[in-house]
């Protein structure tokens, strides 16, 4: 019986969850990037020697891939930084391609030359997720610090499309690019069948000279942005139904086919996502953590072995406390709070984060206004 990747993953997820199998993971291959986005939580300069010296080698990543595969890994995200700044990325990627994994690459695409696109066309990932930071050279300069980043990214998208690579377009919304939403939507429409909106900017996980909170939208503005692009998307879908909008959707949940399902097994856990249940993240310097936002709980798989690190992570995640105030909050259904975001925002798992609270209240307020408007129009 033939199934597509997503249907297959969904079928397996329940079994993985019941048996604590690390079905999904991310390898953060580098902290270095050729762009200098101020909002990024992991963006060291491309030639940062200190960061380079602490990165795992190609051989170490390949060994981790083997151990993770043997422990049950299937969906693997390769991310950075920017993975294509690593000269040995082809070596890592080609080895992982032969392990029976479903690979997704996250990239800004600006370093993907016609030669690299052809190479990917011969060994295609399940998906290449390209983050687009704006719809003009000016916006790219403002957000990424790169004057030719826009041109290079658009050229790369053309080359990748001609190689039939399955593309996803994503955008990270910040002060410097939120006005480009129509242009970004059109770019996504040209090259992909979906547009992922990253609507939450985390305070930095580690220092690389970035200033995420200084560049993210206010809680009110980010919620307004969500509404603008949703309405624009609805309008455009009447013209062409191809493009699907995904606002703030977690990649690993989506890969596991769990984005819209209730995690009954996780009712006692602080994590409503799959972190520490069927998913893990390995940082560029080799620490296994629940997700890209968290530094704890952590284990070092190259020291203790992948399976032991995974067990330690699972146990650590069960000890993460729930935020009681968040659990009781009357607008929690509109809130993006999770252990990773609470820790990033407040330094604590159990303290509500003002930024998230304000956004949730505003979402709930707008939703209430919509319901009242519909009621006044006589639909109820």
């Amino acid at each position: 019986m033939s199934l597509n990747w997503i249907d297959f993953s969904k079928k397996l997820s329940e079994n993985a969850r019941a048996n604590g199998i690390p079905l999904s993971g991310a390898f953060e291959l580098t902290s270095r990037c050729n762009f200098k986005c101020k909002m990024c939580y992991v963006a060291c300069p491309a030639r940062d020697k200190r960061a380079l010296s602490r990165e795992l080698s190609a051989g170490e990543w390949i060994e981790l891939g083997k151990q993770a595969r043997d422990a049950g890994l299937f969906n693997l995200i390769l991310t950075g930084g920017e993975v294509f700044v690593r000269q040995d990325f082809p070596e890592i990627y080609e080895a992982l391609c032969n392990m029976g994994l479903s690979l997704t690459i996250y990239s800004n695409a600006s370093l993907i030359t016609p030669e690299k696109a052809r190479w990917l066309g011969k060994l295609p990932p399940s998906r290449l997720s390209v983050t687009v930071y704006g719809a003009s050279p000016e916006t790219y300069k403002r957000v990424t610090g790169s004057t030719d980043g826009f041109k290079k990214t658009m050229r790369a998208l053309e080359h990748l499309k001609s190689e039939n690579i399955s593309l996803e377009i994503k955008t990270t919304v910040v002060e410097g690019n939120f006005r480009d939403y129509e242009g970004i939507y059109k770019i996504a429409h040209t090259y992909s069948d979906n547009l992922g909106i990253v609507n939450y900017i985390s305070p930095r996980r580690e220092g690389c000279g970035s200033d995420p909170t200084g560049n993210r939208l206010s809680p009110v503005d980010i919620v307004n942005y969500e509404r603008y692009i949703s309405e624009y998307g609805q309008k455009m879908r009447t013209v062409n139904k191809k493009l699907e909008l995904k606002i703030g959707q977690d990649e690993m949940e989506e890969q596991a086919g769990l984005a819209d399902t209730e995690d009954k097994a996780g009712e006692g856990s602080a994590f409503s996502c799959q972190a520490g249940k069927t998913a893990f993240w390995i940082t560029w310097d080799g620490r296994m953590v629940p997700c890209g936002l968290l530094n704890e709980p952590a284990a070092v798989p190259l020291q203790v072995g992948f399976s032991n690190a995974w067990q330690k992570l699972r146990e650590g995640c069960t000890l993460v406390p729930k935020c009681k105030a968040c659990s009781k909050c009357d607008v929690r259904s509109e809130c993006m709070a999770c252990p990773g975001r609470l820790m990033s925002e407040t330094g604590c798992f159990t303290r509500p984060a003002q930024y998230l609270c304000e956004a949730a209240r505003y979402r709930a307020e707008l939703k209430g206004q919509d319901i009242q408007a519909i009621a006044r129009a006589g639909y109820y």
Binding site: M1, S2, L3, K11, L23, R69, G100, L101, G121, S126
Partner: protein
Amino acid sequence: MKIKSGFMLREIAGQSVVVPLGARVVEFNGIMTLSESGALLWRELEKNSTMEEMVELLLTEYSIDRETARNDVEQFVQSMLDSSLIENV
């Protein structure tokens, strides 16, 4: 007959599946799930076994008659040929 290069039988979360490797993804962009007996036959095919040897394997592993075993093997082989996972040598 033999399995084409570039395919791997994996057990993922309790399910036996055949996944394409490397360049095979271009022509086989998906996965094939196998039953317990299908996975058994795949492992036998990895040894370049004949259909008769696969029939004997099923008779050893399951309480079925020879005709049923032969039908099962023929269906399995045809399915693999239809999906271009194996080739006659």
